[in-house]
Amino acid sequence: MTSELPGNLRPGDFGAGEPGLEQLLTTLASGPAPGELAGEQAALAMFRANVPPPAPAPGGTRPMRQLRGQRLRSRRLGGRWLRGVRLGVISAAALAGGFTAAAYAAVLPAPVQHAAYQAFHAIGVPDSHPAKAAAGHRGAPSGTSPTGRPGSSTPAGRAHPKPSASGRAIASAAPKPSSTAKPKPSTSAGAPTGPVALSVQASSGQILAGGTVSLTGQVTAGGRPEGGAVVRLMEHVAGQPGWQDAQRATASAQGSVTFTVPSLTSNARFRLAAGGAHSATVIVTVVPGLSVNLAEGPRGAGDDLAVSTVYARRGDVVVLQTFRGGRWVSVRDRLLGASGETRFVLKASKWQGDQLRVVLLATRRHARAVSSTVTVPPPG
């Protein structure tokens, strides 16, 4: 427990040793979350409409913005200014489109690009720094052809979620797949044939950790396929800072483009970007491999339920559950060790005949995984 908590609270304010509460309080007092600063341009427009700008320097000319501010000033704005403000957002976004487009294309001078990244990274503007190797997956090609192959390191075993015939992994209690994103119109006015819009669809919203995901996109300009457009795949891997420019590809004559991301081992967001526009975001979650093995121990020593995982991390929580009264009830928990393994020791005399399973709790890096069910045999 740290002594510095949000609100100048001290551990003694609520009892010592509550790291869960500390995490909650830290989150509540954290910096801006995505979307919380979305109304900035609208707020600025409201400010301009209600507050005169600083007086001009003596002898100076009257600022143009002051004239505009006087025109904009309206006492009618009242409590319903938000509607107008939303229009202001659109206008401001349109005005900023050129800069944003340049920032998206990462063609600004490095300091300016970095400033743009700091201001707009939440909407996909890359940093000036070279794209870092994504730690969430290995061997992702930067070329345009889908050369990746499905992860061969996927562990075999009945504990793993099994892909369906359509290629989607199944995990009954896992987050709902979110594999499609609708086009988001471009704010750029420089496109030759009209506003650029992109859409993207993932082959699956959830995959086995270490597996491959394909992302198929469509790029249009003025509502027509934009063949030959250079499309960038942006990715934001869980645990990594910001968006990275992962791959590039050229759209076909039909305006379609396909990216393959192999060996994805962490949850990730993806979006496509081209011509100053970007698609909405698709999220792909990964389910770590999780297997259990019940070994009968020596007489009186208890059985040994060994848990092993692939692509989970040290410190992740696994929970032992038993099926009682028609539902799964948690009975014990363990933290994974450095090798991604842990074990539960069970007294056969107590557990005989019981059905057991292990659940790996979801983290920001992976989805929840559930093992197969094992039945404890009677003591030998």
Partner: protein, 194 residues
Amino acid sequence: MATETGVLDDALARASTGDEAGFLLLWRTLQPPLLRFLRVLGCDDPDDVASETWLQVVRDLRKFSGSGEDFRRWLFTIGRHRAIDAARARARRPASPVTAGLDTLADSQLVEDQVMDGLSVERAVAILGGLSRDQAEAVALRVIAGLDTPDVARILGKSAGAVRVALHRGLRALAHDPSVRALTPGLPTLEEVD
């Protein structure tokens, strides 16, 4: 905090003279906690209420005198009043059916929570909003708004002692909330997962 206080003081002084950069600094610093506070209060449309709050702030900015911390307290006082007004207006309106879009929004937020953020701000605010009103307000104003106990007491119209009691009880309730305990690696007690 001292640094942030100085930044707020400077931004406030600039904004009071019509400087846009000063205003934007104030807004960027205080809009996220204001939105979170309004969500804790159960606002249907926290963005709308926050907008009304800032509008009143901007209109009265020239009359305001005080430090950056005074401004912070002033902003949250106005925000709380606007939230109460919004709740009253909502109570006077006939109930409107819930649209299907809300389910979609909730689902996507759930995915976001689980995928990228571990404990997201949305989720943390929802947990805090589960407390009783007086406890939630006390914790929110201390933790989210960053106000001290006397300021919280002035906003809530209570004594500092009453605020401390509400804060203490609220924090203890949060510490025992199963969803908060689940944030603790190791889960010291037996909790249901399903």
